[in-house]
Subunit: 426 residues, 3 copies
């Protein structure tokens, strides 16, 4: 199942998904989920237009076949077939002719990044428009232009999908990726690719928690999922919003609203212990779908993992965020961070020392180097002493690892050895 070179395989997936014209509804999302479903089984949900979801309403479904602006000679000066970024997302249909002066009000450029096409949408206010480079705009001559957007806004569905890796307990960890951006590679095809590979690895690892992967359009998708799973939210103990997972920058972890949720502690520990350059940020109510999971009514322990964070790079939400902007080695590294973090999270239990009065005699249980006096006491024995001393039901193994300065793996191994010897219970 696993690729010989996961970085290349993830990158290939980003390239394959790149051309699809995704939005918050429509066939672009469905096509994306079809491709994801080739790698991991998905449960796809279709939620009808008009469904009330929390404070929102599922909008009409948007689809688009073609769009262009053509000059008097019929030449397409702006062409959807070249890049789906050229059309403002959710543009209403249009088929008319107008002078450039009037058309200008519908044209969006980035004057300070004259070679890039911006990404723009107008989901909830009916509008239409085109995005183009500033250089193209400057090359347009006055005159009449043919303007065509062959789109439809009709009652339909909002589409999202779930993939579940069952664990030994029903408590859940949610991993969420937005799937609503058209041709933007890092944001968020990179996150999707990492999530797929992570799901496959977890399935092979017999995890403690049940891991639920959510592939849904941003904002309205997370809100729809939350609205439809209100009674099951209590099972969600931890979560991670994965986005911008493939650029060349170092890793950024953004804390949950709680700030000291277990997922926060785990990610910070793993990033610090790994020696990776990284940044930890406080929660803020803008960014990706952590906004919804961490709204005050839910206040879930959900953090956000990116490389360069939300809106933090010049190529953000432009045609510069193309597959060349995503590096295979960055995808591999983001995947490794997730793997390491969930490995700690899965083992981060609180134990109780069953022999808490004085130290138990490890020697008679075969757990101690019998010839005392060596100044180079072994790490495994130190780990056992730390676990015994702090397993009072209050300190987790992560607490003990951080307090002792010992690697989490040593601490977790010590706990298993002590549990086997009957000295510890969970």
């Amino acid at each position: 199942m696993m690729a010989a070179d996961p970085g290349q395989e993830m990158h290939a997936l980003v390239e394959r998904l790149y051309p699809l014209c995704r939005s918050i509804t429509g066939d672009g999302v469905r096509g994306t989920l079809d491709i994801i479903g080739e790698h991991i089984p998905l449960t796809v949900h279709e939620v009808p237009t008009g469904t009330q979801v929390l404070d929102w309403t599922v909008p009409q479904e948007w689809n688009i076949a073609d769009a262009y602006v053509a000059d008097a000679t019929g030449r397409r000066v702006i062409d959807f077939r070249e890049s789906n970024l050229h059309v403002v997302g959710y543009s209403t249909p249009v088929d008319t002719t107008m002078p450039l002066s009037e058309l200008r009000e519908h044209l969006h450029t980035l004057p300070e990044q004259p070679d890039l096409v911006p990404y723009r949408t107008s989901y909830y206010a009916p509008a239409w428009g085109f995005c183009l480079t500033q250089r193209t705009l400057e090359s347009l001559v006055d005159g009449e232009y043919r303007v065509v957007i062959d789109s439809s806004l009709t009652d339909g569905h909002l589409t999202y999908a779930e993939h579940v890796v069952p664990g030994r307990v029903t408590d859940e960890v949610i991993v969420s990726c937005h799937v609503c951006h058209p041709s933007l590679a890092n944001d968020n095809l990179a996150g999707i690719a990492v999530a797929i590979f992570l799901a496959r690895e977890l399935a092979a690892a017999d995890p403690h928690y049940t891991y639920r992967f959510l592939f849904a359009p941003g904002t309205i998708g997370a809100i729809t999922w939350l609205a439809r799973n209100a009674e099951a939210i209590g099972k969600v103990k931890h979560g991670l919003v994965l986005a911008c997972a493939g650029d060349a920058g170092s890793v950024t972890y953004k804390r949950s609203r709680r700030g000291d949720a277990e997922i926060d502690r785990v990610l910070e520990h793993v990033l610090r212990a790994s020696g990776r350059p990284h940044t930890v940020r406080e929660f803020s109510p803008y960014g990706y779908d952590e906004r919804q999971f961490c709204s005050p009514g839910f206040n879930l322990g959900v953090g956000s993992l990116t490389r360069t964070p939300y809106a933090g790079y010049p190529e953000y939400h432009t045609s510069g965020d193309n597959p060349d902007f995503v590096l295979p080695e960055s995808l591999v590294d983001t995947l490794a961070v997730c793997r390491e973090a969930f490995s700690v999270l899965d083992r981060n239990h609180r134990y109780v020392n069953l022999s808490p009065y004085g130290e138990p005699q490890l020697g008679k249980r075969g757990l101690y180097d019998s010839l005392g006096g060596r100044s180079d006491a072994k790490q495994a024995q130190l780990a056992m002493l730390w676990v015994l001393n702090f397993s009072d039901g209050e300190h987790s193994l992560l607490d003990i690892a951080e307090r002792s300065g010992l690697p989490f793996d040593s601490v977790a191994d010590a706990a298993l050895a002590l549990q086997s010897a009957g000295l510890l219970k969970e």
Copy 2:
């Protein structure tokens, strides 16, 4: 009502109040309150000698008509008419002749500041004395001196006054100034001048809290007020002791005993956010009347605002603390700090998000820029997201401003907009 140049007007008030011979009782206090009363209406209280106030007793009233030391030629070598600092406050009456050797025991100088007259009192132990410069002392020749203090200590009253600016709620903010020092300008005529102007501004501002201004002699005055208002103390939610409000130094805020009272948080926020050079100090049980408001039985949220703090400048409690030591621009700046602080305090409420599950849809309420995707999200929209996310009944607007790094005004404006839209309640 407001002066064209409030700094000059406040300074003129300091100069006018300067010559009066104030003490903890007597006509100097009454004259001072008369002048304050020309600017803001006062309720004056007269509390009879002998009244038990907490652990203390209102002392006899002290008044003084004249005092001097004259040499053998009749020349006044120390003269109360030149400066009321020349007489030790609460000096008992004396009219006698004595040699310099005996007189010396009653003379107070500052040998290390030979040109300054010290300020001395003996409120609760019967004594008399004169204060003079070291240079004058050194110029006195041996011989007999006529010594006259034409003072009286009689049963009378302790006098203090209150001015109340009614607010929309009856919860109170107390602003307290000591009025017991004779010819000392910064300590505390400057505080009195700022308090008067602050009271006039607040009255024009329709404040949330009721603001109570207290003009009372130090220690015994605050103790008397506390003793007489024991049942109303519960209404005092915040307070500020204003002193040394006009010297050239930067602003110092001294925290309440609680250390994290709302007034502490507000003053620290305002000083930091304003960019002013300033100092924040922990509470200590010496200084001005915060000692009484913050005694452990009351433990009120009362801080102290000065420029150079209590006993922190060489001119402190000497004839060097004269009107020249007080700068109009310092008075204006202290007034501005109070204004800014109370503006924040008045708006620093805790709100509850009425749509706490997921983000509410701001667009349908006209609160959101509909064309998404702009990387330069506007501050007003950010402020709304922050207010919505943290309005859980626990976080105040100040908490949200500090956590978000947004200006308090933006956060407060966002709260008003969201409240108008029905998304927030107080």
Copy 3:
């Protein structure tokens, strides 16, 4: 009673105790307690082999008369009579001849410290062995060697002793020293010497707490004491494990497991206030008998005082830890730290201000300099104001000393003066 030169007297005691062959049981411990008993009265406990103590069992008693390895000429190449470190502690008896190749498996050296003999034991796994310098090992020629260890392992007793200095209250402070190491001077004859002198000083000082000194073998001794005193543990409010008290290094205090126990606060305050170079370390579950007192079931407020800490010097657990390694001035300094700490601990009470509303009038009680206005307010008066303001039943005198920056002695003296004046109660 007290020596003219306590440093020399303590050092002489270290030298006298040095040659005895101590272990966790046996006549070496008894001989050590006999010498301690010449200085302070001891209650000696003998606990039979096989007694269950917490998770452990009192082992057989070990004694040794002689041991050596002799070459073919009969010359002792390793000789117990030169140093008891040459025999692995708890070695089983042996009397045989074997070639060097076979003997090597029983020989312990320190290759990186070729002139030092290591200290080794095998308490709970039957074994025998010799310790020697790497240089001696390298000088041994192949051939047959006579190997003799004239030891015995028989049912007997574990021996430990207590000395109690009665206080004004029955709440106890425990001072614990391990007495199980053979010829190692700093570890722990130095601790024993300091404990003896400390006990004599405390007896002369009429202490508040009852001080219990425990002289017991490491680990099994503390565990035995804890097992036999389970019902009295509640009386142990504070404690200090004394070890490595005489090397040239500066003082190290290792916190109790609680981390903020009163003993932790006191030691840190005393070390900081004294200006001594020192180190404070967090608790860790290895070191001396704080491991047992701070096991999670007991979790006592017991810290550890050493100079260079456990296993922190090259001479640790080698023949380099001889009386020359212990300095009289270090013993004197460690004793002084204990004296200063217990002096603070004994006075560190929480008081309640009986006049908490406003400041009480100190002047009418003779506690205040009546001529107000002096800028150089005296430290004693400041201390009274601090004690009055923070004596709310929550703040201890140490809290007040630290918050005020005043010396603990000033704060404690102020509390006594205020208590005498009826303004404070404990």
